[in-house]
Symmetry: C2
Subunit: 243 residues, 2 copies
């Protein structure tokens, strides 16, 4: 997708991609908000001075990125973070039987701290920047299955300090309260061993194998927004990856 142009001419960006970019910008700046219905293809086409087919290509591309939702006969809508399929786009833990449960979360702590060198590297922050750290345990059904720490730049999430509590679905929170939409994420998976505190949180023995998942989530403009490290019990659940 992304063209690593060395340094040269305007490089020729197709019209439909330019259209896509201007429409994505409307999502970023918030003039189009989740759930909202977009103007029809013909309206957008005449507004932007391109043909309806070109607008369609742009809308199709954004739909493929899960930014929009199109329904024949109804219209084109800005995707909601809660939309079932979108939600599971970022939650890959599945019961071995196949059922896809959605986790309940219990927050253990939420503190403001100075960003470590690693935090600054991952989140692209300047020296001296602050971050939020949220620790929580997530349950699938009855049992605790995930223990995780979420790291967020305070600069983009000032008001987090004034919130009574952190909701279960933080990506909906980022979107609705802070106007930040997570577009994609990259995860690094490793096998590890539960230490004493992790074992206590998850109700397993020290030394039990756990799946560690390190995630970096990016906003629509590809800037890093959230860093997260999760430790999961995979005795009756697994991480599903489709290739």
């Amino acid at each position: 997708m992304s063209e690593t142009t060395t340094s040269e001419a305007p490089a020729f960006r197709p019209l439909y991609q330019q259209v896509r970019d201007t429409l994505v910008r409307r999502l970023i700046v918030g003039s189009w908000t989740p759930g909202m219905m977009l103007p029809s293809e013909f309206q957008l086409a005449s507004e932007l001075g391109v043909s309806q087919g070109t607008v369609r290509k742009a809308l199709d591309a954004m739909t493929a990125e899960h930014l929009l939702l199109r329904r024949q006969g109804r219209g084109t809508f800005v995707a909601l973070p809660e939309e079932g399929r979108i939600l599971f786009k970022f939650f890959r833990l599945v019961a071995d039987g196949g059922e896809r449960l959605f986790p309940q979360s219990r927050v253990l702590g939420r503190v403001k701290a100075r960003a470590s060198a690693a935090d600054r590297e991952q989140l692209g922050l300047a020296k001296g920047a602050d971050v939020w750290r949220i620790d929580r345990v997530r349950h699938l059904g009855e049992a605790p299955v995930i223990s995780e720490r979420i790291t967020l730049p305070v600069a983009r999430f000032e008001a987090l300090g004034q919130m009574a509590d952190i909701p279960n679905n933080v990506y909906a929170l980022y979107s609705e309260v802070f106007g930040i939409t997570i577009g994609k994420a990259a995860e690094k998976l490793k096998a590890a061993i539960a230490d004493a505190t992790l074992a206590e949180r998850l109700g397993c023995e020290t030394g039990h194998p756990v799946l560690s998942i390190e995630r970096l989530a990016l906003a629509l403009d590809d800037t890093p927004v959230e860093h997260r490290i999760s430790f999961c019990l995979t005795d009756s659940f697994h991480y599903r990856s489709d290739l």
Copy 2:
């Protein structure tokens, strides 16, 4: 394009999808083989009695599935299993530094066996069917990193018994020797602990955490072809997943 109405619920498959299906069939039956150049869009269009734009949509869909490779000014080609990017589509293990090495394999054993109940379930085989079991260790750089067992239905891979040895890239083998192209795969990841034999194969201690990856690979017609279970050391490598 004939409108094969089957008197049932679906009743209306878009023309470009019908075109895609007939073209995919040419890949399945082998009248188009990897590396081959396809006729031009206009030739296909006139042959199939549809417009060039409709052929284009079908070709674009197949390109998105990594079945074809299109290059402006050159033509449209059947994708090779060795194509760099395609190869890494199915190999997600990355060095922590970021380099993507490709593994070297050492085969430990290759035996024919009666399919277990689990094998039959996963591969869709009848009672009494036979399977091949291939055990191998894979190295990334110097050190052994993966120990895996591949299970294949003998019915689809008869000639495997006569082969002197198993090449490193088995998906290229399936394609070139058996005419079977792997289109997609689903993986289930868990954390586990190395037992004595695994520890010996990977050169780690018994009890060391390992990432277990269970994969079911499907052919272009969505029939299961290969079942594989891999155990990976993730001390200096990780499994990368993009969401």
